[in-house]
Amino acid sequence: MTTRELNRRIKASIEEGADEIVIKNPSARHNIAVGVRRPCKITIEGSVGYYAASQLDGPEISIEGNAGWALGENLMSGKITLSKSAGASVAASMRGGEIFIGGNAGARAGISMKGGTLLIAGDSGFLTGFMMQKGRIIVCGDIGDAAGDSMYEGTIYVGGMVDSLGTDAKYEESTEDELIELWAELERNGVAGRPRFRKIVSQKKLYHYDTLERLERTLI
């Protein structure tokens, strides 16, 4: 079965009212379960390639294995659960919903994120939360270099160590209320432990150009 046939079959099954769809032997193929825009349940038994469960609005997708780049890219709503580790750019430009990574995540986790929650039980890589705009990234383990580089808004919570902060990012302490909420989130996803999460947020120093031209000063 080609990827095109597989995705057509998934969409047709949803149209026909299937309660749950199970995909066996995905062979780490790219672009599995792309563009599903209705609430439904899909289980993928095995590892997936790039762009698995991307461009979604509404589904609940469970993947038993690892994933390549850009898992859950542009998720609007719904939930994606990955039992093992994700490659680079997980949750890229995600706008809503939840993504849970049971293992580690690669570089650029939550890049350009615009909403929703990305929860990583393990570590995440270089440029986590790069140019993040809104939403929450929760990393229970460590983060690589340039965490939160050029982020606008949103929050990165980190339970472990951070190799370095990115441009315009800063640390803040989490409040007790935030910690209680985060621990509840971990419990809901079956993650043991109660890390004392630190927050990474924007310094907001890159929001504006410092100066205007003479003519612009009279106009703006």
Partner: protein, 433 residues
């Protein structure tokens, strides 16, 4: 030769240094490059004589319809004129301007395109054929919107400022625009230059497959490139599976860019088309992967020359805005007072103070553009260009714009001969070959 003015330290250069000494940063403006480059005016058509005969210029049929992106899509983009409205964001432009452009496109059976701010629902409603851009920023990106589009365009680069992302000054990032882009209101928005989910051409191939799956293989996937390393980029985009390639040259427009990028990056439209054509020919995909040219298209002759050089269609931006009244004194405007420059010289799109309601989000200024009247003017302009294109085509003895070819052209300068790969007038020599 001794000139009256200093070539190196011109008045503009002196003013530029003074401005930067005040500012402490690069300068920003809209419109397009100030560089003097070889353009379509440096080419002329060799119309008919005794070797071939013309069609009746005003009467006989001449087809202007083109089909774009038919390689893989179930439903290629079919437009009645090979001219469509390029991507310009709701944010850079007012909602009224976007609606007017969409309506105008529908009136003449062509397409309009979204831009770096997602899809404005009112533009979707106005435009029968909407091209949905997928940009590095992904502002407002929504698979539900994408599913309604007639074509998808992955933007790798923009001709006016290749190698960097969009720019929207805070004065235009008002609440509604900020919300649609998920940004804090009032920030000077500097969009990403790289896509968040893919980097190189091998990744792009997977991204293209993803967008096909997301749209059920129904619509073409375009790839837009800023014209720089055209030959390699076009081959890589075609190999990655693009149905159409948009080559956007250094003379293309923008609502805001660092001036240094406008004037000092990219290559002009004429060589960009020729390099793209030859690249596609080399890999056996010329006329299979559609080629769309943009940058400095002003009239039907520019369109005809672009097509003769090898493009299947062109996209226009600034010309459509001028048709909407950009740089025109209208009764409600006072250019000198409101923008500090006379009508005809304005390139202050980035200030958000557009006196004619196009490049602004100020509710009072926006009212100066009536979308219906604006649509009428743009539709008239598109029709005028299409008639000019058909007139030239018939004068060459051809009944279909798709029959235009390099042999129809001659170059007026040696540079144009080299870049367009057509003979210099008065010779049978193609320079540089």
């Amino acid at each position: 030769m001794v000139y009256g003015n200093n070539q190196i330290w011109s008045q503009w250069t002196v003013d530029d240094i003074h401005a930067k000494a005040d500012l402490g940063r690069y300068r920003i403006r809209g419109m397009s490059t100030h560089q003097r480059v070889t353009h379509f005016d440096d080419l002329t058509f060799l119309s008919t004589g005794l070797t071939r005969f013309p069609l009746e210029g005003y009467k006989e049929q001449c087809s202007t319809r083109v089909e774009l992106g038919g390689l893989n899509a179930e439903n290629p983009l079919v437009i009645e004129t090979p001219i469509y409205i390029t991507g310009m964001s709701w944010g850079a432009l007012s909602a009224n301007a976007k609606i007017a452009l969409g309506k105008a496109a529908s009136m003449v059976g062509t397409a309009s395109c979204t831009g770096d701010g997602g899809m404005l629902p009112a533009e979707r409603e106005a435009s029968d054929k909407l091209i949905y851009q997928v940009l590095p920023s992904r502002y407002g990106a929504n698979p539900n919107h994408m599913a309604t589009a007639q074509a998808i365009e992955i933007v790798v680069g923009q001709g006016a400022k290749p190698g960097t992302g969009g720019l929207l000054m805070g004065v235009k990032v008002l609440d509604e625009i900020a919300e649609s882009r998920d940004l804090p209101p009032g920030i000077d928005q500097r969009s990403p230059a790289r896509h968040p989910d893919w980097l190189g051409p091998d990744d792009l191939a997977i991204k293209i497959e993803q967008l096909r799956e997301a749209t059920d293989w129904q619509v073409p996937i375009h790839v837009k490139l800023g014209a720089c390393r055209v030959s390699d980029d076009v081959k890589l985009a075609a190999k990655a599976g693009a149905d159409a390639i948009v080559i956007d040259s250094m003379v293309a427009g923008t609502g805001a860019s660092a001036e240094i990028l406008l004037d000092h990056s990219g290559i002009p439209t004429v060589p960009a088309i020729v390099l793209a054509r030859e690249a596609l020919r080399e890999i056996g995909l010329y006329r299979k992967v559609s080629l769309i040219a943009s940058g400095g298209i002003r009239n039907g002759a520019d369109v005809a020359k672009a097509l003769a050089l090898g493009a299947d269609a062109v996209a226009i931006g600034i010309a459509a805005l001028i048709a909407l009244n950009c740089n025109r004194d209208i009764p409600e405007s006072d250019f000198e007072k409101e923008i500090g420059l006379p009508a005809g010289q304005c390139n202050r799109c980035h200030t958000g103070r557009c006196p004619v309601g196009i490049a602004t989000q100020d509710p009072e200024l926006v009212k100066r553009l009536d979308p219906d009247e604006g649509a009428e003017r743009v539709a008239n302009f598109l029709n005028s260009m299409t008639m000019e294109l058909a007139l030239l085509t018939r004068s060459l003895g051809k009944g279909d714009v798709k029959s235009l070819e390099p042999e129809d052209l001659a170059a007026l300068t040696i540079e144009a001969s080299v870049m367009a790969r057509v003979p210099l007038v008065g010779t049978d020599k193609v320079f540089g070959t």
